[in-house]
């Protein structure tokens, strides 16, 4: 019987996504926002980035369902597995480096032959099945065959889904679809989906016999580590937003709306916090919590929970350093809104402060909050790598692109160079951040009143 052990970050991630889903549902119902969403999804780039983001989020979610499996002795394993690990299956660990799709190790090893000579040769990888190793011809054939099989499956599935969709939706015909003559950018949706499906099937097919992105110094599969990094990036972005938004919105609107002493106090708080260089505040907090974790081993039972505690602290402190900017913008905007006629009118009608802020001011700030939150999300993913390099990012045992880059950057200087861990981490990060940025850009065009009405 498997034993579910959810980490704190798992709960928080599900909380964030539930909140996000609720917000989306509410905003689709409202007249004002549904028009904006619709307008946004007519843009091909926005649609494509949305599809990519959905894939990333799905992988992150699958990776957030943790459990322990029973061992032979009847206990539960110490190692915590995620649902995602079980889906893709465990990969063989090699001795050390191997290049992407290689059959043999990257470096020669020495072995003593029975007649006393030392021979140096490239050892075969454990993961590669015997029939591929037989000759170079077999290898090429296998790669091409796997490639073709994966493409066929992807194409087949894609076409099936597409046809079902065309049949089921009332106003869609094949002709309209090919011409791109549809209200939303469905064509780019299906093209992106096709590319993603192709990638997934290829990665899956290739992973059976090869290491798609090679292995790193300790022989771990780089592709697997890249995929595991998605959850960490997603967590850092979303948890920080979760911690930051309430403070920024509440304090920002209060400072702008009430003015006077409330404004002074709030301004003092955010000036003080923003005058501390962000990286140093994060460093200070992470160093302190690390010393605390090291000196209180009894509080943190497993390695995973220690890494988890550090991750949450990192998100908290990133939230502390990043709410001040949004708060300042919201305060300035509230100051303007406060003087407008409709606020004065509702005041005259006897509405309370809370009601005015919640139902008159906040709806007019939503576009700022939304755009800032999504843009910050992409900054946070990039910041994780830099912070981890500095040594104040996520725990070294956590799978993250920052950790991969940090450990692989020296390998880039060796001869012959090992480029695949860096390439893997950077490309996964790049695609994620790029789609978030493109999404944010489309969001701004659709929601910001200044650009919405021909600015």
């Amino acid at each position: 019987m498997i034993h579910f052990t959810f980490l704190t970050t798992d709960y928080l991630l599900f909380l964030v996504l539930t909140l996000l889903a609720i917000c989306l549902c509410v905003s689709f119902r409202s007249q004002q926002f549904s028009v904006s969403w619709r307008q946004m999804l007519t843009k091909p780039l926005a649609m494509s980035s949305l599809v990519v983001l959905c894939f990333y989020i799905t992988i992150g979610l699958l990776d957030s369902i943790h459990f322990r499996v029973p061992t032979a002795q009847g206990h539960h394993s110490i190692k915590v597995y995620s649902f995602f690990d079980k889906v893709i299956g465990e990969s063989t660990t090699e001795k050390t480096y191997s290049a992407p799709l290689a059959t043999h190790a990257y470096n020669k090893v020495s072995r003593l032959t029975p007649d006393g000579r030392i021979v140096r040769f490239y050892s075969a990888l454990k993961h590669i099945p015997g029939h591929v190793l037989a000759s170079h011809g077999h290898y090429v054939l296998d790669v091409v065959f796997t490639f073709l099989k994966a493409s066929m499956w992807a194409l087949f599935l894609w076409l099936a889904l597409l046809l079902i969709w065309v049949k089921l939706s009332p106003h869609v015909t094949v002709k309209k679809f090919i011409r791109g003559d549809l209200p939303l950018a469905w064509r780019s949706f299906w093209i992106t989906l096709g590319i993603m499906l192709l990638m997934i099937f290829m990665a899956h097919g290739m992973s059976g016999n090869y290491h798609v992105l090679g292995t790193n110094k300790i022989g771990h599969d780089v592709f697997y580590e890249c995929l595991k990094g998605i959850r960490t990036a997603l967590l850092i972005g979303s948890l920080t937003t979760l911690f930051m938004l309430p403070f920024a919105v509440l304090l920002g609107t209060m400072a702008g709306y009430f003015g006077g002493i409330v404004d002074d106090v709030i301004q003092y708080i955010y000036t003080t916090l923003s005058s501390i260089p962000g990286v140093l505040l994060i460093a200070a907090a992470i160093l302190s919590i690390q010393v605390y974790i090291d000196n209180h081993p009894e509080t943190f039972s497993s390695l995973a929970s220690r890494a988890d505690a550090r991750l949450i602290t990192l998100c908290l402190i990133l939230g502390v350093t990043s709410w001040t900017n949004l708060c300042r913008v919201l305060r300035a905007e509230t100051l303007k809104l406060r003087e407008l006629d409709f606020i004065q009118a509702s005041k005259a009608l006897g509405a309370g402060h809370g009601r005015i802020i919640w139902s008159h001011i906040v709806p007019n700030l939503v576009h700022i909050i939304l755009i800032t939150a999504v843009l910050d999300f992409s900054h946070l993913i990039l910041a994780e790598a830099v912070l981890t390099y500095v040594g104040v990012g996520v725990d070294p045992t956590t799978f993250s692109w920052g950790n991969m880059i940090d450990s692989a950057r020296l390998e880039f200087a060796r001869e012959p160079i090992v480029w695949w861990p860096l390439l893997g981490a950077f490309s996964f990060m790049f695609i994620f951040v790029l789609s978030v940025n493109l999404f944010a850009d489309a969001l701004r065009d659709a929601f910001d009143p200044r650009t919405r009405f021909g600015g």
């Binding site: 780039l45 003092y268 000036t271 003080t272 916090l273 923003s274 005058s275 501390i276 260089p277 990286v279 140093l280 505040l281 460093a283 200070a284 907090a285 160093l287 302190s288 919590i289 010393v291 605390y292 090291d294 000196n295 992409s378 990039l382 790598a385 830099v386 390099y389 500095v390 040594g391 104040v392 880059i405 950057r409 880039f412 200087a413 160079i417 860096l422 950077f426 990060m429 790049f430 951040v433 790029l434 940025n437 493109l438 850009d441 600015g455």
Partner: protein, 325 residues
């Protein structure tokens, strides 16, 4: 004007005190000096004696806020808060946990930081503004759309990527510049070219988009229409009239970071081996030298506040409508 500056300096005091309290609480309450000593000496198998000795050596053997055993003013001054935190207001940073004189180190290391950060800022500003104006000039064309998408792509690339691949291709494969290192004087320039170029390229994406929004806001104003109606060329309107007026928001963004240039860039300096304050801070973080990190936090806050005050003063120079009282 002088009165205004004085008042701003007075306003800065509570902020600095706040910064000081936050760092003090972070460093001394979350983990006690005992914890600090333990992690400095190696976490396990440390005797209480060794801890006491380390604390005494580094001046951590005092109570936090109030010293019962002292007499007179000593009750306040013979405390950790006074010796480690309040003394920073007089820029007495004391000695690092490794035994070095922090104040001396800071004075020595801020010049290399400046030698890297100042050219990055100036060249970056120049390229970003010119490219942003060019994009605004071609607004409504495919060049604008293409340029903006290129900006988003540049924005989405990690700064670590620029550094690592820049070092590899320009420094190692093409061998145009040294990969890393630093030397003073004019000979040092060859070491600075690569980091400056990478710094400028790394900031282009965000920079162009930011300046473009500033210019677009100006371009819809009445004076632009008047200038165009008078028959001035689009070029002249953009580079003379719009640029001059957009200077005000540009200045706010720039002046505020000028003092912080002394702090340098954390990752650039450590990748390129430049002995500035950025690499100093990174080394301190890696060796868990709390005294240095604390000093840098305080210094950073002081420089940021100086930047805010400078911004307000610079307003009066570029915008005659602003009067400081």
């Amino acid at each position: 004007m002088l009165g205004y500056i004085l008042r701003r300096l007075l306003y800065a005091m509570p902020v600095l005190i706040g910064v000081n309290l936050i760092t003090f609480l972070l460093f001394f309450s979350v983990n006690t000096p005992d914890d600090m000593a333990r992690s400095q000496l190696g976490a396990k198998y440390v005797t209480q004696n060794a801890i006491e000795h380390w604390k005494q050596q580094h001046g951590y053997d005092k109570p936090l806020f109030f010293n019962q055993e002292s007499v007179g003013t000593g009750k306040i001054t013979e405390t950790l808060f006074y010796t480690k935190s309040v003394s920073m207001f007089a820029f007495h940073f004391g000695r690092s946990d490794g035994g070095r004189n922090i104040g001396h180190d800071i004075v020595q290391r801020m010049w290399p930081s400046l030698a890297l950060a100042a050219p990055v800022l100036l060249l970056g500003l120049l390229t970003n503004i010119i490219l942003a104006i060019v994009i605004v000039f071609f607004r409504g064309s495919y060049l604008e759309t293409g340029g903006l998408i290129l900006c988003i792509i540049l924005m989405s690339i990690s700064s670590l990527f620029y550094i690592i691949f820049g070092q590899y291709f320009i420094g190692r494969v093409m061998q145009l510049t040294p990969i890393s290192g630093f030397s003073g004087g004019w000979h040092g320039i060859k070491f600075l070219i690569l980091p400056v170029v990478i710094g400028v390229i790394g900031g282009i994406g965000t920079g162009i988009r930011w300046y473009r929004t500033l210019f677009l806001e100006e371009i819809n104003k009445d004076y632009v229409r008047t200038a165009r109606a008078k028959g001035l060329s689009q070029m002249r309107v953009l580079f003379v009239h719009v640029l001059k007026n957009a200077m005000i928001p540009i200045l706010t963004g720039v002046v505020v970071i000028i003092p912080s240039l002394f702090l340098g860039s954390l990752i650039m300096e450590s990748f390129f081996g430049i002995p500035g304050l950025g690499s100093y801070t990174i080394d301190a973080i890696r060796t868990q030298d709390f005294a240095i990190v604390r000093s840098m936090v305080f210094l950073g806050a002081v420089l940021y506040i100086a930047g805010l005050i400078l911004t307000d003063i610079s307003y009066t120079f570029v915008d005659p409508r602003v009067r400081l009282k």
